[in-house]
């Protein structure tokens, strides 16, 4: 029973994650008065990449070869446990700490793979990514801890199914924590103002610098994994900090409805990311820690408020 359920969770994330990227790009284009590509363009890109041959650096080792699989696998394990339509009592990555550390696992291998080809770009990208990831850790943990403390469980499914029953005042610290979480979301997913996903300028790129040497199926996997990660963070933002649409029922039409509602909420948040991208510039690298520290402080303050209440 659980296996089937996990399968559907993974399928949901895999199917709709490229859509998020498509929506962000579309909204960006509209904001810039362009027509923009179809929101289904990321699917076509993935298909194209899977059909291409691959070139791998002579200097690369098995770390470079295995990293895309490890990164994808960690997003899939997290995908089994995010609250989409129904919260199971137990899921592999159901604890917020497990989720955080599985995200870190993906980052770890991606950063290693980036160093593996011995290119100056990969190394720089890896250094930047690890710097941001290390500083984002505090904000990520504390902002996710706020709903956990309010609800009385660090289990993601439990948080999502109980968050709807809170009184209006309890949402005040949650809202603050959400702002902090959203900042970390932007950092972890290489979005403005932390990173520009649409550039290959060596002065600024972080995530793109790491995957520069990849091509063909491994690039496709990494692109898809990045989309999964973004979608997972969006779902967490949508269902941990706002009245959730988790269904109590295990079968039936309600499941589909609540799944679609989650998708809808995530896409709205994706639109917000696009709005941010169109309205602010990318920040200078050494200004980014201030932003991550802001997220951490927001997390701590909202945690203290939620304990005091």
């Amino acid at each position: 029973m659980n296996i089937i359920f996990f399968f559907f969770q993974i399928l949901f994330v895999l199917l709709f994650s490229p859509l998020c990227i498509g929506v962000i790009r579309k909204v960006n284009a509209l904001m810039q008065s362009r027509k923009g590509a179809s929101i289904f363009q990321p699917y076509r890109n993935l298909k194209k990449l899977f059909h291409k041959d691959e070139i791998i650096s002579e200097d690369a080792s098995w770390i470079f070869r295995i990293a895309p699989y490890v990164v994808s696998a960690s997003t899939l394990v997290i995908a089994t446990s995010v609250p989409i339509a129904f919260a199971p009592a137990f899921a592999p990555a159901g604890d917020i700490l497990v989720t955080i550390y599985l995200v870190a696992m993906g980052t770890f291998f991606l950063a290693l793979a980036a160093m593996d080809t011995g290119s100056a770009f990969g190394g720089t990208g890896s250094s930047r990514e690890m710097t941001l990831a290390a500083l984002a850790e505090g904000g990520l943990l504390f902002t996710m801890l706020v709903p956990a403390v309010i609800v009385g469980s660090t289990n993601i499914g439990m948080i999502a199914s109980r968050i709807g029953t809170l009184s209006i005042f309890q949402y005040a610290p949650l809202l603050m924590a959400f702002v902090g979480f959203f900042l970390v979301l932007l950092s972890e997913n290489a979005r403005y103002p932390f990173d520009n996903p649409a550039t290959h300028l060596e002065l600024t790129m972080v995530h793109e610098a790491m995957i520069l040497e990849y091509s063909g199926k491994r690039l496709a996997l990494l692109e898809w994994a990045a989309a999964n990660k973004l979608f997972i963070f969006l779902i967490l933002a949508a269902n941990l900090f706002f009245p959730s649409t988790i269904s109590g029922a295990v079968f039936g039409i309600t499941l589909i409805v609540s799944g679609l509602l989650t998708l809808f909420k995530s896409l709205i948040l994706a639109g917000v990311i696009a709005l941010i991208e169109s309205s602010i510039p990318k920040l200078r690298y050494f200004r980014l820690p201030d932003l991550l520290f802001t997220s951490f402080v927001l997390g701590v303050i909202s945690l203290i408020i939620s304990i005091a209440m």
């Binding site: 994808s72 550390y101 160093m115 199926k217 701590v300």
Partner: protein
């Protein structure tokens, strides 16, 4: 039968070490025999130690043995309770692997240094650690403590013709003896209060201490054992001494010896004197927070691989103290079940750190052995020739960074959960302390990850940065075997956490006498849950899910793309010829992170330029040095040294060299004592 083994287990273990120690002195003329002999007997002794301590732990028995001596205030008193058995287990299991590794590793010292001396002190060192955990009498304990310190000093200075080794040994010697003085003083205070050096009497007297004595004992024990454990700011000997010793000795010192400090802190603060006020637990928690965060930051500064690992030991001791400090706070608040959760986290991290840190030190030793340097900037590309070492080091890196399903994750998770349960304790002051602990643990996790991307990436990946690295060979079979066993252990302790935790709970029960209900920490063979389902994880399911996902991804990608070809090509570098200088360096990797944290690490940059004539733009020579300010030496140890020098300088004035004057001093002191005694009797 079992009883006989348990009763004599320690003695049997010791016999192996003694035979190993004296045998290697006998055979010192032949390095080959001597090497095999000393490590083989250390291996057998450790194996016996593992079996014996595991039996004591599983059966939950306590073994004790006493031998009166004719010396006043001295008796040989041995008692192996579950806590001691747990630490004996840790020492034995690490020594087992390091001894296996040592056979291959020490081979390159043949003919250069005297292996007989090494073998002797190696065996004595391990044996003294085993005895320390079982000692039940303060004077006997101090003797063993000194034996351990001296044996390890001899091992640190073993490579005495290498530059810096003797200096490293000197710093270690001074620090460890200053610490021992504090410990001796702490025991004297306890003796004054309880009237005995016997640990059982001290335990019985634990509630009777006056607050001032209690505080004094706290400070002295914290300084004394904290120095051994390597808490900041008493850590300065660690990054000197650990890299200087041979790799498997570093593994023992870093993985196990510093835990003797933790062990005695537990004895002192949970057994010899309680209950403590919450602020004392808070101090320990804050020291843990500072040590973990600063330890990992200093590790990021390092590009000597073994020094980097030494700083990570400081970090991990910090994590253990987070759990232990939390436990002390809960104990003083009377929250016994939370205390158990917290202490189990600390114990679990103790064993985990021993395993993965030994593994990493052995890996670093293999690399240094193959390339003849410890400078990380001269490695690179080693994964291609040293496949096994690379794999083991990768596993160690993942374990120390707390990535599931390896062991570091479980203990960090438990520590996190213990700290989470503290934030709602109701007291604002304590809530803030716990939040500080959580924050430092969170950032420590992130920074450790960055540090090990650097350490592993620069060492093993990409192209070789030096000819030595290019020509490096994989290490010998015995060295690989030692590492592989430890790598498997990281996985075992990670996946089977549910079976380890009950044993640890039992140890906590024997230390604190708490045997309450299981609500705060409950484990089955597959799941661990805390605080009535507040949180639960299942390490085996995480591991299975991960492997399953990996296989599914690989198979489905393969089925879609099996007709696509893979070609090998050069790394793209804008068309310029690729050189080894294009790779990122360890310094460059961590520089931006350290610039961001410059409040703590104080990066320095010295630029030397010789300009041509009066020009401001053209120069003949330019040199840039990047370094870090040693704030502890400058602001902590230097002032102490200056004060000490000043005082001793003044004291010299009364030393006239005239014998008559000295006799006068003696008479004066004598009179003062008589006056004081007669006054105090009135």
């Amino acid at each position: 039968m079992v009883d006989v083994i348990i009763q004599n287990g320690l003695a049997i273990t010791l016999v192996f070490f003694l035979v190993g120690a004296f045998g290697s002195i006998l055979f010192q003329k032949s390095p080959r025999i001597c090497n095999a002999w000393s490590h083989a007997f250390a291996f057998l002794g450790s194996a016996a130690g593992v079996l014996f301590s595991a039996m004591v732990l599983v059966l939950g028995k306590t073994v004790s043995y006493q031998q009166e001596t004719t010396l006043p205030l001295f008796e040989i008193s041995v008692r192996i309770d579950p806590l001691a058995a747990f630490f004996i287990f840790i020492v034995s299991i690490v020594a087992l692997c390091t001894s296996l590794y040592g056979i291959g590793y020490m081979a390159h010292y043949h003919g250069k240094y005297n292996l007989g001396i090494f073998g002797f002190f190696y065996n004595v060192f391990i044996a003294s650690m085993l005895l320390i955990f079982s000692a039940q009498h303060a004077v006997y304990f101090l003797l063993l403590w000194e034996l351990m310190s001296l044996a390890s000093y001899m091992l640190v200075t073993f490579e005495n013709r290498t530059e810096g080794t003797v200096y490293a040994g000197y710093i270690y010697f001074v620090m460890t003896h200053a610490a021992t003085a504090c410990i001796a003083f702490a025991f004297l205070l306890l003796y004054h209060a309880a009237g005995s050096f016997d640990f059982d009497v001290l335990r019985a007297n634990a509630d009777e201490l006056t607050p001032s004595v209690q505080t004094a004992v706290f400070i002295l024990a914290l300084i004394g054992f904290g120095t051994k454990a390597g808490i900041i700011p008493l850590h300065i000997w660690l990054p000197h001494a650990h890299p200087a010793a041979p790799a498997h000795v570093s593994a023992l010192m870093s993985g196990v010896m510093i835990k003797t400090g933790i062990f005695m802190l537990i004895r002192f603060f949970l057994e010899f004197s309680h209950p403590y006020a919450p602020w004392i637990g808070s101090i320990i928690l804050l020291i843990g927070a500072a040590s973990s965060l600063l330890g990992v930051l200093y590790a990021l500064c390092e590009h000597d691989l073994k020094r980097l690992l030494a700083y990570h030991s400081i970090e991990n001791i910090g994590i253990i103290l987070l759990g232990f400090g939390g436990a002390m706070i809960f104990a003083s608040l009377g929250l016994q079940s939370f205390m158990r959760l917290s202490l189990v986290g600390a114990f679990y991290h103790t064993v985990n750190h021993a395993v993965f840190k030994a593994l990493l030190f052995l890996g670093a030793g293999s690399v240094a052995h193959a390339t003849h340097t410890r400078n990380i900037e001269e490695y690179g590309g080693l994964i291609k020739t040293m496949t096994w070492t690379a794999l083991c080091f990768l596993i160690g890196s993942m374990a120390i960074s707390g990535l599931p399903p390896f062991n570091g994750f479980v203990s960090e998770w438990l520590t996190f959960q213990a700290l989470f349960s503290g934030i709602s304790s109701g007291n604002v002051f304590l809530t803030i302390i716990f939040i500080a602990g959580i924050a430092s643990l969170a950032f420590t996790g992130g920074l450790a990850l960055a540090c090990f991307v650097k350490a592993f990436g620069v060492t093993f990946l990409a192209r070789a940065r030096s000819n030595e690295a290019h020509d490096a060979q994989e290490c010998s079979i015995s060295m690989r075997a030692g590492m592989i066993v430890l790598a498997l252990l990281t996985l075992v302790f990670g996946v089977f956490a549910g079976s380890v935790i009950p044993v640890l709970s039992h140890i906590v029960q024997s230390v604190t006498g708490f045997s309450g209900h299981a609500a705060a920490l409950f484990s089955t063979s597959t799941t661990v849950s805390v605080r009535n389902q507040f949180a639960s994880i299942s390490p085996p399911i995480i591991a299975l899910a991960y492997i399953g996902a990996l296989i599914v991804v690989m198979l489905s990608v393969y089925s879609v793309t099996r007709r696509r070809t893979v070609t090998r090509g050069l790394t793209w570098d804008c068309g310029t010829p690729l050189t080894r200088r294009m790779e990122i360096t360890a310094t460059g990797f961590s520089r931006s992170l350290l610039m961001i944290c410059k409040t703590f690490v104080r990066p320095l940059k010295n630029v030397h330029i010789q300009h041509i004539d009066q020009s401001h733009y053209f120069f003949t020579f330019q040199k840039i040095e990047l370094s870090f300010l040693d704030i502890y030496e400058l602001y902590f140890y230097r002032p102490i040294a200056v004060c000490a020098e000043y005082v001793t300088d003044r004291a010299r004035k009364i030393q006239s060299g005239n014998v008559n004057a000295y006799i006068l001093y003696i008479v004066l002191v004598f009179i003062c004592m008589i006056v004081w005694l007669s006054l105090s009797n009135v």
